[in-house]
């Protein structure tokens, strides 16, 4: 990891030297070893603060979203999942490809700094596992799908594709009532902090439907109705767009298994549209299946 850090720093420094970028997006170290945060290096001096370590899990594509209205030329370090986020932003015309210099990092799988923070914080009675983060255990794309330069050797996906939707299939086996009960119970704990939305790179709407007040589409009560409405609408919007970075589930302060909803949609969209998954490759002009209309779109569910 230190080696990768050195390489990223060197590339960033070179890009600043060559005058090719105005800012480089990556991660920096926090106060403690497990703490990391999104970082924007604005000059060659800042470059030394850039790190890549076992906790640099935050999706840098989400940092990129903060730059959609500016004009800087941006260098950006991406892991596999981050790179899929970048593709999503390119597809959604949130940022132009020629503004970016993408440094790809084949990702060995990382740990969750939030789990470490919780263990450290002293509120947990039982220590949480601090191995690879759940999202990394389930990762299907550790290697960047788009880059200008690659750092380090390619990695192999960690989970055989066959078992990928095991949990989803379990839920599908439930009766409709059982499934409703499951989700009602699960979503009733939501505190509506919107962290799952804020951390989501696929959530790139300028005004989110949940912030619309005129009309107000979704109520803000903490009730089963409004909570379900929030999650179902949010996740339905993710259909064909979720890049499976798992950040929503990772950051949820009440541990809602949000990726279950996303995976169900990934599975269904895959089946219905028979297409590649969200953000797996960048083809200019390409749109996810639910962003375009085709006369032969599947409609058996109507």
């Amino acid at each position: 990891m230190k080696e990768i850090t050195n390489k990223i720093q060197a590339i960033a420094a070179r890009l600043f030297d060559e005058g090719k970028i105005d800012v480089f997006l990556a991660w920096e170290k926090g106060e403690l070893d497990f703490q990391t945060k999104a970082y924007a290096a604005w000059n060659k001096d800042d470059v030394q603060n850039i790190i890549f370590n076992e906790y640099t899990i935050y999706n840098t594509a989400n940092t990129l979203l903060k730059f959609r209205d500016t004009h800087e030329r941006i260098g950006i370090a991406v892991k596999g999942c981050d790179s899929r986020g970048v593709v999503r932003l390119l597809e959604d015309l949130q940022i132009k490809r020629d503004r970016l210099y993408i440094v790809g990092i084949p990702c060995p799988g990382l740990k969750d700094p939030l789990a470490a923070a919780r263990n450290y914080g002293g509120f947990n009675q039982v220590k949480e596992e601090e191995g690879l983060a759940k999202k990394c255990l389930e990762c299907i794309q550790p290697n960047p799908v788009i880059y200008d330069e690659l750092v380090g050797p390619e990695q192999v996906p960690r989970q055989p594709l066959g078992e990928r939707f095991a949990k989803v299939k379990e839920l599908e086996q439930m009766s409709a009532d059982e499934r409703y009960d499951f989700w009602e119970k699960t979503l009733s704990t939501c505190i509506r902090c919107y962290a799952c939305r804020q951390v989501c790179v696929a959530c790139d709407c300028r005004t989110c439907i949940f912030d619309e007040m005129k009309p107000q589409w979704v109520g803000r009560e903490i009730s089963t109705t409004d909570n379900m409405m929030y999650h179902l609408v949010k996740h339905a919007h993710m259909a064909g767009r979720c890049i499976e970075c798992g950040e929503c589930e990772r950051v949820c302060p009440v541990n809602i298994p949000l990726m279950l909803l996303n995976q169900k949609l990934i599975k269904d969209v895959g089946k219905l549209y028979d297409g590649p998954e969200a953000g797996m490759q960048y083809v200019e002009g390409n749109k996810p299946p639910l962003s375009v209309y085709r006369a032969d779109d599947p409609d058996s569910f109507l």
């Binding site: 007040m213 005129k214 009309p215 107000q216």
Partner: protein
């Protein structure tokens, strides 16, 4: 800054509105209407409102903080409301007789006592005349207490001028009073002044000696008028303006209308410029 108390009036349930009846609705401009309300049993007004104070107006769909443009004795409260949002859209569709919710009065109001004996210069833009009107009418009602009154009002177009009858007929007839009206762009049937308020103000140049300027309007107008007043020799103690922030509770609890440690709904909305200089530049 001192905390503005609720004038000693105890309100048991400050967040629960009183239901009143709309007794008249007057079109002021294409998107501004005046709503006159009083108690449903016809017994007067739900509460006493001082010039510059506000009230929270509600229909089932929502609530909004609106400045009270006039309290006519115990007859009615008048709110001049521009159609801009969810509630105001809905309000513009009601008819006379409709019940609406009001709670208040909120805010500190204009320092009518401290201004006694001064020449008053009122400067307003657009719907900003609504709050000032309560002070202007108060001055006329207590005419002897105030010196010369100068009113400068501007809006985008003729059609957007609020309170035309008062502007053109009633107020100019008051003793020792001058009314100036301007619109942003020339129009074929307009013989009056054309141009923005700050420039017109500097042209008129009302003396700052013994005067108080009261300013209300869109933020951009306020910004430039304050600069003009400074140029014209008005000190920070001679300039009063009102601030606007989004409000929900009206009683300094819900958090959103703060500028620094001030809650505009409770401690404002009326401030001397000197007070504003102490606040973070978020206004």
């Amino acid at each position: 800054m001192s905390v503005q108390d609720n004038k000693g009036v105890i309100i048991e349930q400050p967040l629960v509105p009183t239901i009143v009846e709309t007794i008249d609705i007057i079109d002021r401009t294409p998107d501004v209407k005046s709503f006159l309300v009083r108690n449903t049993d016809g017994s007067g007004v739900p509460f006493q409102v001082a010039p510059g104070q506000c009230a929270m107006i509600s229909l089932p769909v929502g609530e909004a903080m609106i400045s009270c443009t006039w309290q006519e004795e115990q007859e009615y409260l008048e709110f001049a409301i521009k159609r801009v949002g969810l509630l105001t859209d809905e309000l513009h569709q009601i008819e006379v007789g409709q019940k609406i919710g009001v709670r208040g009065p909120y805010g500190n109001g204009f320092p009518v006592e401290a201004c006694k004996g001064k020449d008053m210069v009122f400067i307003a833009g657009g719907i900003g005349l609504a709050p000032l009107r309560s002070f202007i009418k108060y001055c006329f009602k207590n005419r002897a207490d105030y010196g010369k009154i100068t009113i400068l009002y501007g809006s985008r177009s003729q059609a957007d001028l609020c309170f035309k009858e008062e502007l053109f007929d009633l107020w100019p007839k008051e003793p020792n009073t001058e009314v100036f009206v301007t619109i942003d762009n020339a129009e074929p049937d307009w013989n009056g002044h054309v141009g923005f308020v700050p420039a017109y103000l500097e042209e008129l140049n009302p003396s700052s000696a013994g005067a108080i300027a009261v300013v209300c309007g869109p933020p951009i107008m306020i910004k430039f008028v304050l600069q003009s007043l400074e140029k014209m020799g008005y000190s920070d103690d001679q300039v009063i303006t009102t601030l606007e922030m989004r409000m929900k509770c009206g009683i300094g609890k819900c958090g959103r209308c703060n500028i620094g440690s001030e809650f505009i709904c409770l401690d404002g909305p009326v401030y001397y410029l000197r007070q504003l200089r102490d606040l973070p530049p978020e206004w």
